[in-house]
Amino acid sequence: MSVNDAITVTGLRKSFGRTAALDGLDLTVRAGEVHGFLGPNGAGKSTTLRILLGLLRPDAGRVTVLGRDPWRDATELHRHLAYVPGDVVLWPTLSGGETIDLLGRLRGGIDEGRRRDLVERFELDETKKGKAYSKGNRQKVALVAALASEAPLLVLDEPTAGLDPLMEEVFQRELSALRAAGRTTLLSSHILSEVERACDRVSIVRSGRVVDTGSLDDLRHLTRTRVHAVLRRPPTAAEASAWAGVHEVVLDGDALSCAVDAEHLGDLVAALGRRGVTGLTCRPPTLEELFLARYQSVGPARAVAEQPA
């Protein structure tokens, strides 16, 4: 591991009775980056975050957070870390303001100015009792408490679930400010546009393992580009499917649509040129395509690739 890594996890395993929630998970979060943590429901994201906090005890694997073992050094580690849980519950009899103060004081103090700014920006009514808050407002209480801290590492489990688009925007700006200030954020999320905007790198977890990690550009690069071409001399569908890296071929008269692996895009364009291309559109994978391919246990791209065309 490098000293520049805020979090390193190798071979992490955790079972609850018979369910294996984590099955050899590896994760590296570099210091100063916003790292997106994505995956389908039940993939093991929240479990991983709880282990990073030392709330759960790993069955196997090495976990280092800010140079510490979270299970053994949890208390010390928490001085440098702020957390928003995936399911924010508040004490029904404490007001939002009291909760923010309490969580701040537990962490050893709170920056008054920052607290005031955040409450204002998130338009939070601090006088409501925990019981009376709506879901989004509960989320805001936890967010304000976490963002008001000066912790160098933030661990956020679906922090924007339930926030309206305006508040989501406020959160995005806070996230950029955090990055500008050199703080590290691990952000679990299901909102792809949020991830695209905020994250330097992402890790995608499925069934307790990380299946892909890297910047979005890297991932895009690994995902097929859609190509639509109109040709003077179209090939047969079988011919086109035989070209290296070409999949999902659909031939409609002289129009050819297909998907192509990034490294074979050049070859395809050359082949199309030889066949007298009169129209050509190339579309990079949409975010949805990019993630769907990785969320499904057998990605559609791979499934198509395995079909005899």
Partner: protein, 549 residues
């Protein structure tokens, strides 16, 4: 959902009250499934309490003469009368159940309340009703299903116990009356619970109201039973459901018609409950939630202050309860002393070889023993808040801050340990201040506070058991309630039925010195405190090693 109606034409809509009950059967089945351990084991425990102790008593004292000889002195003692009600008749049958009538009526009432609350307010608190309420479930259905399950549990406990007693060869009418005593208290409480769960806005608030009601019902009947019949105070027994249970007088007057009062309260309570339901929002009480302060008080800054702050209602409620209870116990000392001066009672007690001196001391010791068990119950409830905070995810918020686990855990132990001591001291103070004003021979402040503090080691052992379970096996933590109940019953009923000494010794409540009647022994107090400390230490060790979310 089997009762879900298919889409129907506008004209054939079911009558409103039918639709408000839609889904009751499914909910009842669901509730029965969730309580498939709690209800049968509670019912079984109650039946064993009634039938087992009666059988053991009758085996020891088979005839009326033997029974009055052996138990009369003990049970006609004014301190027992104040706690359990008067002896309906000097027969073996009546003596065999005199303690379990009232004890069981109280526990049946608790069971009824607990079941109603679990399936109404608690469900609402945890947001599960919204899930159900959006299906084809009528507005009244959850309440009606909860009341039905609770009533069935009460009915099973009462009827099976009555049948069991009759099967022992005890008087059939008396056995029916015994069942009716429990049913009256239990069903009436189910009716009251149907209202209580609408009033409070949280499950915890409902528990406070419900248990407060039961404590008040018990206090009223204790005061009534200590007064001479024909007085105004004695008549007050007719306003308490637990008083009704006592006034059935099984194996004596056998007033079977008292059941009517229980049934009327049940019906009236449910009617009032559904009326209130129609007037409030899901998840809310009748009183709107007030707004809170914008900033936290400076004192709210660590795990302990948080735990104390969250228990504010409990602390205030119990504090007030202790003052009232102490004043009541103290003021009943006059009646107890009078009863002790009654030549007929003295004569009986002397003939039977019982104690005739210092009724006041014996009475205070008996009351303090019972209140000690109640305070232990409060301690268990406070320790179990650690487990519920863990389940809801609130613990995660605190533990993700630089809070050492041991401190978070410790806060949930320190509060009940300290609070129990404070409450018992308040109780002693109240008894000691009030008692001497009505009975010259009553123990003073020092003696009463001493008596109250002497039971603390036993209370702490129970808190320790809850702590160990919460630390090591949070899923099993509710068993601490069972431990409290069984150990207390063993200490109350055990000596009557000659339970083996080793069994009595297992209960922490048999060990503390019975003050102010006896003398203070240091060794049991030290040993109990050491056991409690060891249990807590094991709990902390286990907690630090396990998952905490």
């Amino acid at each position: 959902m089997t009762t879900g109606a298919a889409p129907v034409a506008e004209t054939s809509r079911p009558a409103p009250w039918v639709s408000r009950l839609a889904g009751t059967a499914s909910l009842l089945r669901l509730a029965g499934r969730r309580d498939r351990m709690l209800v049968p084991s509670s019912v079984l425990g109650l039946v064993v309490l009634a039938v087992g102790s009666a059988q053991a008593t009758l085996a020891l004292y088979p005839t009326d003469a033997a029974a009055s000889q052996g138990l009369g002195a003990l049970l006609a003692n004014p301190s027992v009368v104040a706690l359990y009600g008067p002896l309906p008749s000097p027969t073996a049958d009546a003596l065999a159940v005199v303690k379990t009538v009232m004890m069981g009526a109280f526990l049946t009432a608790v069971l009824g309340f607990v079941v109603v609350r679990r399936h109404t307010r608690t469900e609402e608190d945890e947001g599960r009703f919204e899930l159900l309420g959006s299906g084809v479930v009528g507005r009244w259905a959850p309440l009606v299903a909860a009341v039905a399950l609770a009533s069935a549990a009460v009915l099973a406990a009462g009827v099976l116990s009555g049948l069991g007693l009759a099967a022992l060869g005890m008087d059939p009418t008396g056995s029916a009356a015994f069942a009716i005593a429990w049913l009256t208290a239990g069903l009436a409480t189910v009716g009251v619970s149907a209202v209580v769960v609408q009033l409070a806005s949280t499950s915890r608030g409902a528990a406070g109201l419900g248990f407060g009601f039961l404590a008040a019902a018990f206090a009223v009947r204790a005061a009534a039973d200590s007064a001479a019949s024909g007085t105004w105070t004695h008549a007050l027994g007719w306003v308490s459901p637990l008083g009704w249970a006592g006034r059935v007088e099984p194996y004596g007057a056998d007033r079977l018609w008292v059941l009517g009062m229980g049934l009327a309260t049940l019906v009236g309570g449910v009617a009032a409950g559904v009326a209130l339901l129609d007037r409030r929002d899901l998840g809310a009480g009748l009183l709107p939630v007030r707004v809170g302060p914008r900033r936290a008080a400076p004192a709210l800054r660590g795990p302990l202050s948080l735990v104390v702050r969250l228990a504010r209602g409990t602390v205030i409620g119990w504090g007030v309860g202790m003052v009232l209870g102490g004043v009541l116990i103290g003021s009943l000392l006059g009646a107890v002393a009078d009863m002790g001066r009654d030549p007929a009672v003295r004569d009986l007690l002397e003939k039977l070889g019982g104690t005739t001196g210092a009724f006041e001391d014996v009475y205070v010791a008996a009351e303090v023993h019972v209140v000690g068990a109640a305070v232990a119950g409060m301690g268990v409830a406070l320790v179990l808040r650690l487990v519920s905070a863990e389940r809801t995810g609130l613990g995660e918020l605190v533990l993700a801050a630089p809070t050492a686990r041991a401190r978070w855990f410790g806060a949930h132990v320190i509060l009940p340990v300290v609070l129990s001591a404070g409450l018992m001291a308040v109780l002693g103070l109240a008894i000691g201040l009030v008692g001497p004003t009505v009975a010259p021979a009553a123990p003073g402040v020092g003696a009463c506070v001493g008596a109250c503090l002497a039971v603390l080691p036993a209370v702490w052992v129970v808190v320790g058991v809850a702590t160990l379970l919460a630390g090591a096996r949070p899923r099993l933590a509710p068993f601490a309630w069972g431990v409290l109940l069984v150990t207390f019953l063993v200490s109350e009923v055990g000596p009557l039925i000659d339970l083996p000494t080793w069994l009595l010794d297992l209960s922490p409540f048999t060990h503390p010195s019975s003050l102010p009647a006896g003398s203070f022994e240091v060794l049991p107090a030290v040993v109990l405190t050491a056991v409690a400390a060891a249990l807590v230490a094991l709990g902390v060790l286990a907690y630090r090693r396990r998952d905490a979310a």
